[in-house]
């Protein structure tokens, strides 16, 4: 039996909690509810989503979220704020910060790649999310930052983003593209020049000269920010590995979702990052296995409409369904056994969460003491 995950202790003790998981498992709701728990524990918490869907705003009763924390109305000893990552704005700010001069900054801003597609460059969207995490954390205006990441595959990108960008800017392709007439030109008969020329010719054929030229210009300008970005990326990685940062794996009791949580846990473990545990949402909790007695059936049937099918039979059928749902979930949860992580089950909520009161109820369900 897995150890119970104590979410109240988690929000009291950590400074960064990163919620990861597949889509549709209640990750955003869980992140918001952790914020509620933290505020009720007297902490100042900010919940940041990088999921493009505006679900967090809807759940918190805000019209919209923007790039800066907005206070959420909640009666609590602490405070709760929420924000949604604005990729373009954060990227622009990053360029303004790290571009060595105005000329480089303007070159980047006017480049068609930057304008149209820059947010997909080598995981830059995730890098930007990391950048914003670092900004909020370093501002020290909140005790706790709760990050709601995109669905699982992209959450892995989120972890990889800093290293990918460093590798890209430092890598052989960028060096080749940036200096086709530099080192290569000087080494007139070298293998390097010949193989680079062949590679470039091939890429040109594949993508077109204009695209390569644009990309080259973009990377040239971008690479001048390399040292600043590299230093920043290493600080982000360090923050993710700090004892004050914990990853919370959010999932539903379904094989696909649990499998993703397992893979993510293995990856985090391999990277030496701290896992808080597994939060299993939408769980159907065990139901009494006792059967209805004939006296029970008679009591129920006495309440029903004589013109309809036996009420007792229908109630019994609902009970059978509830048991089957619980049994199916229990079987699926077996997939988590090998992880050896603390776990908390949150019962399936039959109703939608419309308001802060609903979020408070959900947060209480998250924190309730029940077997893992």
């Amino acid at each position: 039996m897995a150890e119970r995950l104590d979410l109240e202790a988690l929000v009291r003790e950590q400074s960064v909690i990163v919620c990861c998981g597949a889509g549709g498992v209640g990750k955003t709701t869980s992140a918001a509810s952790l914020g509620v728990l933290a505020a009720r524990a007297g902490r100042s918490a900010v919940v940041m989503t990088i999921d493009p869907a505006k679900r967090l705003a809807q759940a918190m009763g805000l019209d919209s979220l923007n790039n800066d924390p907005q206070p959420v109305a909640l009666e609590a000893p602490g405070a709760l704020s929420a924000m949604m990552l604005d990729t373009k704005r954060t990227f622009d700010r990053m360029v303004e910060t790290y571009a060595p001069d105005e000329r480089v900054r303007d070159t980047i801003f006017s480049n068609s790649y930057y304008q149209q597609l820059s947010s997909t460059l080598g995981g830059s969207r995730e890098l930007i999310a990391m950048e914003r995490v670092l900004e909020i954390h370093n501002a020290r205006e909140h005790d706790l930052l709760i990050v709601d990441t995109p669905p699982a595959q992209h959450a892995l990108d989120f972890l990889d983003a800093p290293k990918r960008l460093i590798d890209l800017l430092d890598g052989s392709f960028t060096q080749m593209l940036l200096a086709p007439y530099g080192l290569a030109a000087r080494a007139q008969f070298s293998f390097f020049r010949q193989s680079s020329a062949l590679s470039l010719k091939f890429l040109e054929r594949l993508s077109g000269l204009e695209m390569l030229a644009d990309l080259s210009n973009f990377l040239l300008a971008f690479s001048s920010m390399f040292e600043g970005l590299k230093e920043r990326s290493l600080r982000v990685l360090a923050l993710m590995s700090e004892p004050g940062t914990r990853f919370l794996l959010v999932c539903a009791p379904e094989p696909v979702s649990l499998g993703q949580a397992g893979r993510f846990a293995e990856r985090l473990g391999a990277d030496g990052m701290g896992i808080a545990g597994v939060l299993v949402n939408r769980a159907h909790l065990p139901v009494s296995t006792m059967e209805l007695s004939s006296a029970d059936r008679a009591r129920i049937d006495a309440l029903g409409n004589p013109g309809r099918e036996s009420l007792a039979e229908r109630v019994e059928a609902a009970l059978v369904d509830a048991r089957r749902l619980a049994a199916a979930d229990a079987r699926s949860l077996g997939l988590l056994e090998h992880l050896d992580q603390p776990r908390q089950l949150v019962p399936h909520f039959n109703r939608d969460l419309h308001s802060m009161a609903d979020l408070v109820a959900f947060s209480e369900a998250m924190a309730a003491k029940r077997p893992a």
């Binding site: 869907a53 597609l117 595959q153 091939f202 594949l206 990309l215 006792m290 939608d352």
Partner: protein
Amino acid sequence: MVASTIADLCARQEKTVLVSFDGQTDRHPIFDVPLAYEPQEAASNLWVMRVDAFAAIREYVHRKVPFSGIYDTFLKSRMFRDFAEAAPGFEELMCLGKLYDLATDSEFSKVVFDAPATGHLKTLIDVPEATLKAVLVGPLNHNARKIQDLLINPERTRVVLTTLAEEMAVREALELEAFLRERRMGVGPMIINQRVSTRFGPEEIQALASVTEPGPALSAAIEAARSECELAASQDESLQLLEGGKCTLWQLPRIIDHEPAALLNGLVAHLDAQVNDG
């Protein structure tokens, strides 16, 4: 699950391939066959495959470039991987290009794409248009134009929206619908998945709540009935958001505790009945 259901239904009439971009698993979770770039036969008339950008690029090069074999080493190199990652949208465009090839020049009559979650799908759909704006000439522009033309041709491409009957999920589906219509794509029907109907009227739930001192079994049974009724009512309320919408609505029931094959057959039967009802 819904994409598999649609693909299975299509395969009853036409040779169908079910495509995903999901690189996380080596076996298809429903059909339990290997998931690879080469289509694998999953059922009668139905194949499944996974498209990854680098395999798509290698295939593209082999088809388009004379003596392409000499580039194989480069295509597998770190340098080329860096290039593909550095060129924004390049990998996505190559994956979409493979979908284009499957739809226009393959043995399959129907291509069912098990699309990623909403946010990622929006990014994916915008890649051809963004490429056309960023790259004005050349092969990338040419390929992006072809793909874009296919995407916005409602006779050829149709997006089936899928949602749970929950308010936030329905709102997200509606946002996606608006996004797709803005881009002139063919949209609909919308499938409501895991729909729950109740066996109880509100007056019966009220009467059950009046039972005093129930034992554990009776208490659990009453709670099960109340829970079922509450869930169905919540779903009904969420689906009101779809009233007056442009999409035809199809509903798939929640089927409990079935093995994937049995679950799939159950869902296909439900979907088939609604398709036949028009």
